[in-house]
């Protein structure tokens, strides 16, 4: 059933939300937030998962969730104190629950032993002796009927189709509602109507209990009924009709197997028979003042009906249920309350963003053409275009905001990661997060998870020391991993820091030398040693059996950050810890850039990388040997990079004096000066991926379409700077060697 498949999907989505709530709630309780609402929320999360799982018959999940829910119920009821150990067990149970959910969703396997062990651990938390309190069986409330005999009225008939069945049962039902029944909105007429669907009925109302109108309590119960039911159903089916009201009425059901009825039943004969039976019963009654068990002599015939009752009833129901509609009422419409959020297909948002991007490009082209057409700046067309540009900007900003999401969704996976890596490496680690609500475009968020995971893993595996070592150093045994996100100058900055031992520089240097990454006797600054870990091929032999089965080094991390247009740098203090700082663009879709020309080509340089622009003066430019140059900026020598040459647009150095220099800051705060021919202007450009349409080009981040329709390449500043440094180092080596 398609609809059920859709609901199943909804269920799994909801499970993810519930699992997140569960973990957050448990952590909050562990941190000391004991308030009732958090405990309730945690209980409800597991309860919801269990409920939905039951509906889809996900038995393993139901089983585990039930044990978990029971334990949580004890906490909720105040019978189980949420101590640190209890919560640790529960956190691990939450992890197992998550695994079960995902296995149910994706069809994978789960470590059944682990789950059962955890289930046992949860059961062991039960403060009482094991016994499962099966609620006392429902009290049938079968009091004796106590009412006055009355003259029999002719009563209404229902004539449901008779089943062609040999066995008919005749039930005599005495039903006297109490006031509470009505107070709970039960309706005798409805009940009798349902009863009548089971077979043929004769209904007699005993109104003898009715007082005078002046004494009548409109909410009181004065009426009683005697109902004769001729049906192929059994007594259980009859009782089921009264299932909800049994406590609030006097109900007595007596059965008697009727003789085999022919296909065509003579109704009149039947009525007479029933009336006779009723009269006989009534005369056997003692006066109301002394309710007796006299009726107990009548045996109840519990013969089972042969026909498939459920099918028959279902048939009747679908017939009687009115025209089935296929309309689903919109939640928003039915509610009468404005929804705070709506769910939208991601495809639609992506499409919208693409279209808006095209709109921006088109608007720019239009502006260009108008300019070229020579219309006056103050003309109506030009002003109209300016307004158009404003509107387009606003639309673009609003649309980008739709896709912006808080990094919370990525940060949320980290606590579990910390628990698992800590357990695997034998380290005690605690995660503190900050700035989870910092928003970033969805495209960036998705690609954050992997690098963050690796960095946190590294922080615990390599950064934090073992508890004994920490204690010996006077540090708390539990290490701290700090994860934070914040907006800074048009980018998002994410920091992962630990209070571990910091980078072991001696070891790093030795390892790098042994792998041939640096010459053995190279003299490097602390900063440079720290950055060695980013070199390809550096990954230290990790003792962590990698959860995803891949061993990765920091070089992979850096490349994935760079692929996002970001930068990563490291700061480390021995004995105190390390901090990795990642800076990422807020979105991968749009960029503020400076349009420049280099060797006749038009390039765009991301504005966020540019610190300032300047005109090189003859006194400031110095050769450095091997064709490299530096420029003195405020008494600091900064490498001068000839972009045209770096990108192989030309072979010779350009004449610095006729060029413009852009002072840029690359990763690690390293500054360089990029030499370009001229600056054309600044504008916001829509990023078009080169990789998606062509392939990765070194030194180029992406491309865009300018207003005049030409394609402009977007410079990858970090790559250009890095490659020029390597060239420079190489040439220097040559120079010194040669």
């Amino acid at each position: 059933m398609d609809a059920m498949a859709a609901i199943k999907q909804t269920f799994f989505q909801e499970c993810e939300e519930q699992l997140a709530e569960l973990e957050a709630g448990l952590l909050a309780i562990q941190d000391g937030g004991h308030d009732a609402e958090t405990v309730n929320a945690v209980f409800r999360a597991v309860h919801s998962i269990k409920g939905g799982a039951g509906a889809f018959s996900l038995d393993d999940l139901v089983h585990f969730a039930h044990v978990f829910e029971t334990a949580l119920d004890h906490v909720r009821a105040g019978k189980l104190a949420p101590s640190h150990e209890v919560l640790n067990t529960m956190l691990r149970a939450a992890d197992a629950l998550a695994d079960l959910v995902r296995a149910a969703r994706d069809g994978g396997a789960v470590d059944a032993q682990r789950c059962e062990a955890l289930a046992n651990a949860l059961r062991a938390l039960d403060p009482e002796a094991a016994s499962d309190d099966q609620g006392a069986g429902d009290d049938d409330g079968l009091d004796e009927a106590a009412f006055q005999p009355v003259p029999i009225d002719e009563s209404m008939f229902d004539d449901p189709p008779m089943q062609a069945e040999p066995r008919l049962n005749l039930f005599t039902i005495r039903f006297k509602p109490k006031a509470a029944l009505y107070a709970k909105a039960n309706e005798t007429a409805v009940l009798i109507r349902e009863l009548a669907r089971l077979g043929e009925t004769t209904i007699v109302c005993d109104a003898s209990g009715l007082p005078l109108l002046s004494e009548l309590d409109p909410e009181g119960a004065y009426l009683a009924w005697i109902i004769e039911l001729l049906t192929t159903q059994d007594e259980a089916a009859v009782r089921e009709v009264f299932e909800f009201v049994e406590w609030d009425c006097d109900l007595d059901i007596e059965g008697d197997a009727a003789s085999a009825a022919p296909d065509a039943v003579d109704v009149a004969v039947l009525i007479e028979k029933m009336q006779a039976a009723v009269e006989a019963e009534l005369s056997a009654l003692t006066p109301p003042q002394a309710p007796q068990a006299g009726l107990a002599d009548v045996g109840v015939d519990a013969d089972q009906a042969v026909i498939d009752l459920a099918k028959a009833r279902q048939q009747k129901m679908t017939q009687g249920a009115g025209e089935p509609t296929t309309q689903k009422s919109e939640q928003a419409a039915a509610g009468g309350l404005p929804q705070a959020t709506i769910r939208v297909d991601l495809d639609r948002v992506d499409r919208l963003i693409n279209l808006v991007g095209e709109l921006v490009i088109n608007q720019a082209m239009l502006a260009q053409r108008v300019l070229e057409a020579g219309l006056a700046r103050a003309s109506g067309v030009a002003t109209g275009l300016d307004e158009l540009e404003q509107l387009t900007r606003e639309i673009q900003d609003s649309v980008m905001a739709i896709r912006a999401q808080p990094v919370k969704s990525v940060f949320q996976r980290m606590p579990r990661l910390v628990r698992e890596v800590g357990a695997m490496t034998g380290k005690l680690a605690r995660l503190v997060t900050e700035g989870e609500n910092t928003e970033v475009d969805k495209t960036v968020i998705e690609r954050l998870a992997d690098p963050l995971t690796h960095m946190i893993r590294n922080a615990i595996d390599h950064g934090l020391e073992k508890p004994e070592t920490r204690a010996a150093a006077g540090k708390p045994e539990e290490g701290l991993v700090h994860l934070s996100a914040a907006h800074r100058s048009g980018r998002i900055v994410i920091e992962v820091s630990d209070d571990g031992a910091g980078i072991d520089r001696a070891r790093v240097k030795m390892l790098a030398a042994s792998k041939g990454l640096i010459p053995a006797d190279a003299s490097l600054s602390d900063d440079e040693i720290d950055n060695l870990i980013f070199l390809p091929g550096f990954s230290t032999a990790s003792t962590v059996s990698d959860i995803s089965g891949r061993g990765v080094g920091m070089d992979v991390v850096r490349r994935s950050i760079q692929a996002l247009g970001g930068r990563i740098s490291i700061a480390s203090r021995p004995g105190q810890g390390s901090t990795f700082t990642m800076s990422l663009p807020l979105t991968l879709a749009v960029l503020d850039g400076m349009v420049v020309t280099v060797a006749g080509q038009t390039l765009v340089v991301p504005l966020t990388a540019i610190v300032e622009t300047l005109q090189p003066k003859i006194a400031d430019v110095h050769g450095f040997g091997g064709g490299t140059r530096v420029i003195a900026i405020r008494d600091q020598f900064t490498p001068l990079i000839d972009v045209g040459r770096e990108l192989a647009y030309r072979a010779e150095n350009a004449d610095a004096l006729s060029c413009v220099a852009l002072l840029v800051e690359a990763e690690g705060g390293v500054r360089s000066a990029l030499l370009v021919d001229a600056i054309l202007g600044q504008r916001q450009v829509v990023i078009k991926s080169l990789e998606a349409n062509y392939r990765h080009v070194p030194g180029i981040a992406a491309a865009t379409i300018l207003g005049d329709g030409r394609v402009a390449l977007i410079l990858d500043v970090d790559a250009v700077v890095a490659s020029s440094r390597m060239d420079a180092a190489f040439e220097q080596l040559l120079a010194t060697a040669g």
Binding site: F11, E14, A189, L191
Partner: protein
């Protein structure tokens, strides 16, 4: 005219399933996410039957039932609670709060409709 059922449950999955079962049976379904929301919806709707969960944030099923029963306009609306099997205590508490009947979770659409028929005029 189709009867209207108000379903109150904080689980989206459960709301969807109730919606499916009830619309297939020909009812018009109106939804709410918790007790507070349910009372708000009631200010603008007069359902023929209410189906509500018990465990919900902000206001749970018991609070909701009491709220409904204390409102003159809705005192006589039948209310069915969704309950897990073994919960005789909860059933009893719901009844004492004024619930008309109950449906056991996970629910069978047939039983759901049968229960509604037993209470809906």
């Amino acid at each position: 005219m189709n009867k209207t059922v108000l379903t109150v449950d904080d689980s989206r999955t459960m709301r969807d399933m109730l919606m499916l079962a009830l619309s297939d049976a020909g009812y018009r379904v109106v939804q709410a996410e918790d007790g507070v929301h349910g009372l708000e919806v009631l200010s603008g709707e007069t359902p023929d039957v209410i189906v509500t969960d018990i465990n919900m944030p902000r206001m749970d099923g018991f609070g909701f039932i009491e709220g409904v029963r204390s409102d003159d306009r809705h005192r006589t609306v039948p209310i069915l609670v969704l309950t897990t099997e073994s919960d005789a205590e909860k059933k009893d508490r719901a009844r004492r709060a004024g619930a008309t009947g109950w449906i056991v979770k996970p629910f069978d659409p047939v039983k759901l409709v049968a229960a509604i028929r037993r209470v809906a005029a």
